[in-house]
């Protein structure tokens, strides 16, 4: 098992280096100049002398050849230095520490909501296949899979924020500062982020439960005189979970992607909204840092998913 994990981590390192290469060079292929964008936003561009602009460019190391810039950036990362944001004039590492906890908070909540409600809905619709519950919930999962999150966010804000006034329409408060306000603020964004996971997990769980229901060992379980609860929870659940766990791994990347939109809609100062503004501002190092951290998270999640297979199914062994 340890050998397997070490091997996977080495593979992950290779993937990460590829990610740094791609994000670094693709960002620089985009038309535009981050220094000019920054200057244009803070002062009159015409009034700025060329020397000052060159000075700024040198300050951020953007005057050097592109390969040297890449080497400097990579060297910085290994020292724990992610560089300095052009726009915020702030250390990127500090910026990440401010913004990432917010996104992680939303992502974890969405993941948990998606897992619990998705698996529950899938189990119930499978066990009550063809009954009214199944007939209502299963069509709803199509809606969950297809609805665009930004549209859903706006609809929710309109309904629950503006019309009913039940929930705050935007903003974010740390749960450590004001737990009640924080919870009320995250309900709608988490709903938006989790809906895909709930729907996808429910559908996958339903179909894999139905598959498991037909297995011989389930007939054996019934033949032992076990009740429905024991048959479902002991004999079906673990067997049905493997494809769902795979999907949960995938849904982490979907939630992180969705956070870009959802944080925008609900004005949440997480990395999602930071990523959007940094791309528009061509704030190279910030985009690079966020992408890199996203990549690390997704690689780790995939590793955890693969390890959990062995826990779910004793026939799977890693060596």
């Amino acid at each position: 098992m340890t050998t397997y994990i070490v091997r996977r981590l080495i593979q992950a390192l290779v993937v990460l280096i590829l990610v740094t290469l791609i994000v670094f060079f693709v960002m620089r292929l985009l038309p535009g100049d981050p220094i000019l964008i920054y200057v244009a936003q803070t002062a009159e561009l015409e009034a700025m002398p060329q020397e000052r602009i060159d000075e700024l460019r040198a300050e951020f190391g953007l005057d050097k050849p592109i390969m040297v810039q890449y080497a400097n950036w990579m060297a910085g990362i290994f020292r724990g230095d992610f560089g300095t944001s052009i726009f915020y004039r702030e250390d990127v590492g500090t910026l990440m520490l401010e913004r990432f906890p917010i996104t992680i908070h939303l992502t974890l909540l969405s993941l948990i909501v998606g897992a619990i409600f998705g698996v529950l809905a899938g189990m119930l619709t499978a066990v009550r296949r063809g009954k009214w519950l199944d007939k209502i919930v299963t069509p709803l999962t199509y809606v969950g899979l297809t609805i665009p999150v930004f549209l859903l966010g706006i609809l929710l804000i309109y309904a629950f924020g503006v019309k009913l006034g039940w929930l705050p329409i935007s903003g974010y408060t740390s749960p450590l500062d004001d737990f009640w306000l924080s919870t009320r603020q995250v309900i709608m964004p988490v709903f938006c982020l989790a809906i895909f996971g709930v729907a996808a997990n429910a559908r996958q769980m339903r179909s894999s439960m139905l598959e498991v229901t037909r297995q011989d060992y389930i007939r054996t379980a019934w033949s032992k005189g076990l009740g429905e609860r024991a048959v479902v929870m002991r004999h079906m659940l673990k067997n049905s979970l493997i494809p769902v766990i795979t999907l949960m791994g995938v849904s982490v990347s979907i939630i992180l992607g969705g956070s870009v939109l959802v944080e925008r809609v609900f004005a949440i100062p997480g990395v999602g909204s930071l990523l959007v503004s940094s791309i528009f501002g061509q704030d190279y190092v910030v985009v690079q840092a966020i992408t890199l951290i996203f990549a690390v998270i997704i690689l780790l999640v995939n590793l955890i998913v693969d390890i959990s297979y062995a826990w779910l199914d004793p026939r799977i062994r890693y060596g």
Binding site: T220, S223, K224, G225, L226, H235
Partner: protein, 351 residues
């Protein structure tokens, strides 16, 4: 129904055994499919006495497994038990709700079942211990610790070497034969009155088959249980069963003791079955004769005898009258046939 001299109707005055344990009367199970209604079990009646071993023999798709699953109420949609009675300990099991507490207290505890596929009949993600003890805890109210001790003991009885080391293994760490042994241990763990073995050895190799049948026989003797062996292989039941029921197209066509069935088979189907298995006590060079044709489609069954198109004994009456009910030949030997098969028995069919 016109009566035939020397025979009585099946159910009217059949001698009642004092120790009759399970009595199935006119059981009907159907499957509702897109193509139509499949009459998988079409009114079968049989019984089993205490500590008796019976065989239920027929080819694939004749409804033998379905009939046993119906007794356990393990038929799932689109299947449905549409009629009949299953009398066990004075109660009609079919009156119980499928997953109600009464039925569940019978299933596993009083009537247990072993299935055809040992490779897939055990849950792959639970240990042998978990799968063996859950029944002991449920039906006998044992604690986890006591149940584990008992489970190890049971595994030892069915011949799993060093059972205390193997108890926490998963099914995939066992071979097919070993898994079927585990299934036998599991089925007998709550000392059921009846053990139903649905093609228990079909998926195993021949040497293992013999061992397992011996084991099953010893075990039911030890647990004082009755045994129903469901098989398509007459050879399997020949050694162990006391009485045999021959099924064809959802019905029982012949019933009798081992001596009756193997010595004086009377239904054309049974005669056909026996002609296609080799015997050691016969002259060399006899050709094995397969039964011509195919079993009927169970959806559009003719009102006449379903074996008619394949039968070499057919008489005029077979075409005109519906499938005859079982009639008594003598003692415990019954057949469902109009033809006089006695004369031709033993002669090879002209081909």
């Amino acid at each position: 129904m016109p009566s035939i001299p020397g025979s009585e109707a099946y159910s009217s005055d059949k001698e009642k055994s004092m120790a009759e344990l399970l009595k199935v009367e006119n059981l009907k199970t159907q499957f509702h499919t897109e193509g139509g209604v499949v009459k998988a079990v079409d009114g079968i009646s049989y019984h089993i006495d205490e500590r008796e071993i019976i065989g239920l023999v027929g080819e694939s798709g004749c409804g033998k497994s379905v009939s046993q699953l119906s007794v356990m109420q393990l038929i799932s949609t689109p299947g449905e038990i549409v009629g009949g009675e299953v009398i066990f300990e004075g109660q009609d099991l079919l009156k119980y709700k499928t997953h109600g507490p009464e039925m569940r207290s019978v299933r596993g505890a009083k009537i247990a079942m072993i299935f055809q596929e040992p490779m897939t009949s055990l849950n792959p993600v639970l240990t042998i211990n978990q799968q063996l003890t859950e029944m002991l805890e449920l039906h006998l109210g044992m604690s986890k610790k006591v149940a584990r001790e008992r489970a190890i003991e049971l595994l030892g009885m069915v011949g799993i070497p060093s059972a205390h080391n193997r108890i926490d293994d998963y099914p995939h760490q066992f071979s097919g034969g070993m898994r079927q042994r585990v299934m036998i241990a599991m089925a007998l763990s709550c000392s059921p009155k009846i053990l139903i073995a649905d093609e228990p050895t079909t998926a195993l190799d021949v040497t293992t088959q013999a061992q397992l049948l011996e084991l099953m026989k010893d075990m039911v003797e030890r647990f004082k249980a009755s045994l129903v062996i469901v098989t398509h292989n007459l050879g399997v039941v020949a050694r162990y069963a006391q009485r045999i029921y021959i099924m064809y197209a959802g019905r029982i066509v012949e019933e009798g003791t081992i001596k009756d069935i193997f010595g004086k088979p009377r239904h054309p189907y049974t005669i056909g079955l026996l002609k296609c298995i080799p015997r050691l006590d016969e002259e060399e060079g006899r050709k094995l004769v397969p039964i011509e044709g195919l079993p009927p489609n169970l959806i559009n069954m003719p009102p006449t005898c379903a074996f008619l198109p394949r039968c070499s004994y057919k008489v005029e009456r077979c075409f005109q009258e519906p499938w005859p009910p079982l009639k008594r030949l003598h003692d415990r030997h019954y057949i469902s046939c109009y033809a006089n098969t006695e004369e031709k028995t033993g002669e090879p069919t002209e081909r």
